[in-house]
Assembly symmetry: D2
């Protein structure tokens, strides 16, 4: 995995992640990418449940774009990178990739917004997020 | 599938349901069983979201017991039965089984309770449920 | 749902599909889209397990692009459309969308390829697929 | 978590694990339990993909029994224990539990067998497994 990536999260492939093709089910890369974003937020002190309790806001994914490059299998160790590309007050764009050692498995971009948890209306990111992103 | 079963729900196996063994991932039978219970409730007019909106109560699974008999594969059509075995004011026990034609795939029992959605404290079943079960 | 769509598959939202935001977990739209593609293939007589047994080939998703428009909830009925946009001998591009009545929930494009199931090397689509697509 | 447990695996609850009740979806404890069994096997040098490549055998779950005690939420850290209770040449019974600190979330027993991956016929456990279990 290229060393330039600012954040990475490591995970293992379990039976639950695979499908009858014998490889990781493609939809599960969205889960892997999200786990990495969660740990990236935690790395600068932000827990999403705590954020919701404090502000009533939750993150939502508004757009995803993925390209699948190589299959991964049971027991593989996968590194997932998180790389913020663009941030506004109510939306951010994050480039992510999954690697097994030097082999690129999947890559893509995820657009994240923020909504009020009870109404699902868009709101701007809570201050701790904005402060960190700037 | 034995004709005596009072309710059955039919579903198909998709890629998402399988694992690298080439068969349905065992944990997914809990999902299949729940889909059948949901449709069984709907068959006598009860939607769980509507019930929650009206009463604040949601069903919770408190116990599950499953035995896996034969593997199912991609594209299989599965019939899932729902058979209430025991009902109280705050708990019910339901026998369920999954069949592909005459072949038993999995069978077990699910215990269901009811909780207040905001506190997760046990409550008795809402009246429409109790009325139907008796 | 606009009437022009050539194929649609109807499904219901169960507990398994939701997340703690109270809505359908965004990654699950990829599952919904795939169920619809599976049923679309079946509608012209192609079962993927049978195809694999006969030809050794399986479909793989090589690219996904989704935009999330409105949240869906437990018990919602969702219609998913399948609309082929581009087909080659080894790749096709399919536009898909999920609707609850007239409300667009999610839309996107899925690129599909074909590989040999044992080597995962790209192969051209089996003849029955090519014949149908032309 | 009681210190007597011979093996434990720690994991975090992500969005993918939750449902619209705001808690971990009960079927996912089967996934958590399996991740812990996988890591327990790895702790004594056994990788399941390597085992399959070498022997043609895969583990299968033949029976599961779970009781749900307390709900877990997004961001919770969960410890899952693995405790072998009974072992034969072709079947083993494992007690497992999930804890958040001292709070028991779920507990149960999983029965595991072994099958030939191509025929799904029961076989006895491969020697490395039998040697370790004795």
């Amino acid at each position: 995995m290229p060393p330039a990536h600012p954040f990475r999260h490591r995970l293992r492939v379990y039976w639950e992640d695979t499908d009858a093709g014998g490889v990781v089910f493609y939809a599960n890369y969205l889960k892997f990418f999200e786990r990495a974003r969660t740990e990236w937020l935690r790395a600068f002190g932000i827990g999403q449940q705590a954020l919701r309790d404090a502000t009533g806001a939750i993150f939502v994914v508004t757009e995803t774009q993925l390209r699948y490059r190589s299959p991964a299998r049971l027991d593989d160790v996968i590194d997932v990178s998180v790389d913020v590309r663009e941030t506004g007050r109510a939306s951010m764009r994050i480039a992510q990739a999954a690697w097994r050692d030097e082999l690129l498995l999947a890559e893509g971009e995820i657009r994240i917004g923020c909504v009020d948890a009870s109404t699902f209306r868009p709101v701007r990111f809570p201050d701790p997020i904005l402060q960190h992103l700037r």
